[in-house]
Amino acid sequence: MGLISAASTIFDAGAMAAGFGGSMTFIKKLTASSSATLSFVDGSGGVVLDDTYKEYVFTFKNIHPQTGTKLFEVNMSIDTGSNYNVAKTTTNAEIYHAENGSAAGLGYVSGKDLANGTGKLKISSEIGAENDECCNGFLRLFNPSSTTFVKHFISDVQGNYNATFSINHKIAGYCNSTSAVDAVQFTFTSGNIDAGDICLYGIA
């Protein structure tokens, strides 16, 4: 049964009509607790990562490594998480400034990008593990269920570099596959994700 007011459909078929409410829908929150990985797998644990939305946004809140100078990483899967090894070509630009003002700059970071590499993609600098150190940011994944196009993503992560620098990494690239991406996994280069949470949103 729908709910119609002044000839405008407000609710129908279990959903709010277009034009009402927001277009950014919360899907899932994962909270780290000395976690080796945090994984979002379509169809598992309430996660939606399919053609329901054309854009998905992962937000990173106070991601804290268990051991210092570790880089936050992501990889994607086309087999619902059995393997996280999708080929990716990516770019990595960083902007940095030292706490003591001794250095600042903008540059391309060739050691933290991938050229059709299947390994984990580094999306932060070396994050310190002091109690107040962490990284925050987001990753946007476009149209992951397309079976025609490569899958574009854009990430922006701000973090502490080993207690001495503010570093912002602007990373983007594409999964060089025409298979649907149906799972995304986050890790540190080594050691656990000690604390922090990652939320997944769908953009209608």
């Binding site: 405008s8 854009e55 770019t91 594409y174």
Partner: protein
Amino acid sequence: MAVVSNGTTIIDAGALGSGVATGKMILIKTLTASSSSTLSFLNGADSVVFDDTYNSYAFKFIDIHPATDDQAFTFQVDTGTNTSFNQTITSSFFNAQHSEGGTSYLMVRNSGDQGQGTGFQRLTEGSGADNDQSCCGTLTIHTPADTTFVKHFISQTHNAHSGDYAMNNFIAGYVNTTTALTRVRFKFESGAIASGVIKLYGIGG
């Protein structure tokens, strides 16, 4: 008939009550390309809202695919009911590039910026037309209906370049007019938009 809960009007006269908390990112319009020479959003036409209803407007690009190889995806704006799409723009453009073969750059792209130019503003560089190549991203135009200030825009896009590069593009600038903007048009510099989706959202307000 209104829906009232605990004294608060939830729904009345075809709209949510003003006291109902909703998101501040509202989908306004979706346009889907099919060998389209242009895609245009015109305030007041086909349910498009592009006025002072929202603080800013975000256009999302989903797998925009050119019919012709090696083309920049572009936009322009206009005022009133004008159809020239030739407003004056001053803008900046830089990108990070990395090829599938491992070559990388970070550079200002003077070919993509404008200094009081009236041409279509580039949002990508050299978008490839291979079957699996496309571009995605966002363009945000702030306070388009303002009649005091110039109109600022910020865009970030990512495209698969015709030379098999990943290109992360950062574009920003302003439309140098104090007249309200009412319409936005997208196109490739040459050739049609073979396929893809552009969604318009209202933010805040």
